[in-house]
Symmetry: C2
Subunit: 326 residues, 2 copies
């Protein structure tokens, strides 16, 4: 390529990277030749020579629609800062650790971890190697930057919405063990307390999928469970959909007899025939803050860690209404 135009490789490098220096004439000459030869700089070589990759690694679960949305936003944002993305997904057979190692091998300068599961200590250790931002997960300690949505507030706003509609008998369909389920559950309990409904707190064992919701619905419908609550807040949309399904099949009118609120604003919640009232998080904000945090540490030299907590928003659709007359 350099030989082709009778210039040094240095000049070519300068032109190709758009660095100031070469004259207009040289620039044109090189660009023309590059075009003609279909020249593409070798990323590996640049990376090696430049000692900067300008690569940001993203750990994701390719099966998650929410992650998909985030990746879309990330691409756009990262580009504005002159970085590029490298994706690494977990799968059934590919652990989080393995996925992160791939990212490390690609010599990423920083990592965005979408919903990481690793223990906080491990993440902190990672962060000692390179800037890391965890998205969407609450983390004790402050070994990494965190950008997340206040899940407890989200659930609280769901409860408040129901209370405002007149509900008093509001059950919560739990999401199992884990930091996120715990946080959401606490949001429910606190909100109930604040509404003077502390004594009506009613926790139903659940899980994260449709099946869990279906089981929960069936247990609520057995007479031994006592009267059906007038509303139930579910850990997430998937379990809420399970609830809706069983209610629909057993002739329980939603929202006539029971109101249902989900969490996540999943695609499934938005489907017109589901129309689930739910709590969503602003993916654009989430990614914007995540990248900002990394760039600050990479280019701005910030060293202490920070946690950004964004407010969730309630989306009222068709599964909530005033309670049935008792």
């Amino acid at each position: 390529m350099a030989a082709e135009v009778g210039l040094s490789t240095a000049s070519v490098s300068l032109v190709v990277r758009g660095v100031a220096g070469p004259s207009e004439a040289t620039r044109r000459r090189v660009l023309e030749a590059a075009e003609r030869l279909g020249y593409r700089p070798d990323r590996a070589a640049s990376l090696l020579a430049a000692r900067r990759s300008r690569l940001i690694g993203v750990l994701l679960d390719v099966r998650s629609t929410f992650h998909a949305e985030l990746v879309g936003d990330l691409h756009a944002i990262v580009e504005r800062h002159g970085y590029d993305l490298v994706l690494s997904t977990i799968t059934r057979t590919r652990s989080e650790q393995r996925a992160v190692e791939t990212l490390l091998d690609s010599r990423c300068e920083a990592l965005v971890l979408l919903g990481p599961e690793a223990p906080a200590s491990e993440l902190a250790a990672l962060d000692r190697q390179l800037p890391v931002v965890a998205v969407g997960r609450r983390l004790s300690g402050s070994g990494v930057d965190v950008v997340r949505v206040a899940d407890d507030e989200g659930v609280a706003s769901a409860v408040e919405h129901l209370v405002a509609l007149g509900h008093r008998d509001i059950a919560y369909l739990n999401g199992g063990t884990g930091t996120i389920p715990a946080l959401r559950r606490r949001g429910y309990e606190r909100a109930m307390g604040r509404a003077g409904l502390g004594s009506s707190v009613r926790l139903v064992p659940g899980g994260y999928d449709e099946d869990a919701g279906m089981r929960a619905a069936r247990s609520l419908l057995t007479s031994s469970a006592g009267e059906l609550p007038t509303a139930v807040v579910a850990f997430n949309d998937r379990s809420a959909v399970g609830l809706l399904d069983v209610f629909a099949r057993t002739g329980v009118d939603v929202p006539g007899q029971v109101s249902v609120v989900g969490y996540d604003d999943d695609l499934v919640a938005r489907l017109a025939h589901v129309g689930l009232t739910t709590v969503g998080q602003d993916s654009g904000q989430l990614t914007e803050h995540a990248i900002a945090a990394l760039v600050e540490r990479l280019d701005g030299g910030r060293t202490e860690h920070r946690e950004v907590v964004l407010p969730p928003y309630l989306v009222v659709r068709r599964t909530t209404a005033p309670p049935r007359p008792s």
Copy 2:
């Protein structure tokens, strides 16, 4: 790292890559030191020096759940062949071409394109640079390897299923323009013809999403459309879900009054409360053939192109039943 153990970098390289040569003693010494120092070989440097990246690029749409599934399988398969994956996704703001360029820049040795949209000629041009396999799309000419499922057969088997149940008035909800919609539609037309129902062919304009399905359902329900068919085969699951939604809201019983079949065996089709009869494709087979094709060309020296067409399978769930009595 080499200095650390008092050996040459060559020896270290040999050990780290697991190449035969170094003695057991050396091997242990290096491995121990690597562990202690947290040494990770630099991918870029290896890539540059080895002149082989052993990387396979995957073009995908991170928003597609089917692609997600494929990526999961790909990771597992590729690993068995000693390759690694690099992912590049299209997004709202990131074109297919841009995504492919990224892959090229990473010096992939071959590309797996999941549902590529580029014209065949462009793909053929790409294939002149490196082995390319297109997954899931029918391609005229033979400029690249193709692995796909026989979409026409899939739709045909849906029609045959309905015919076997006794249906004669079977409409098809079209998927818009594009090679895949065209192929599926033809599958419908042919199957109808074979069943002696050529004169009952009934095409409804549609699209690929829930909205299109909803619009189609409404148009079917207006009296001007004539009598409601006893069954409708939809271009895909998403549009089928739109149909189901409108039917449910307007009190049209499925499958009592109308049977509905989708296509894709999406997650949404599997949800218990949807229970959509649909046509699925075996993602494991698809990826297995795709990688096999690439490996053969990469390591086996095959040069001509090939097309692998896999059979789809019908999944009968709860949205199909014998037709309503007329």
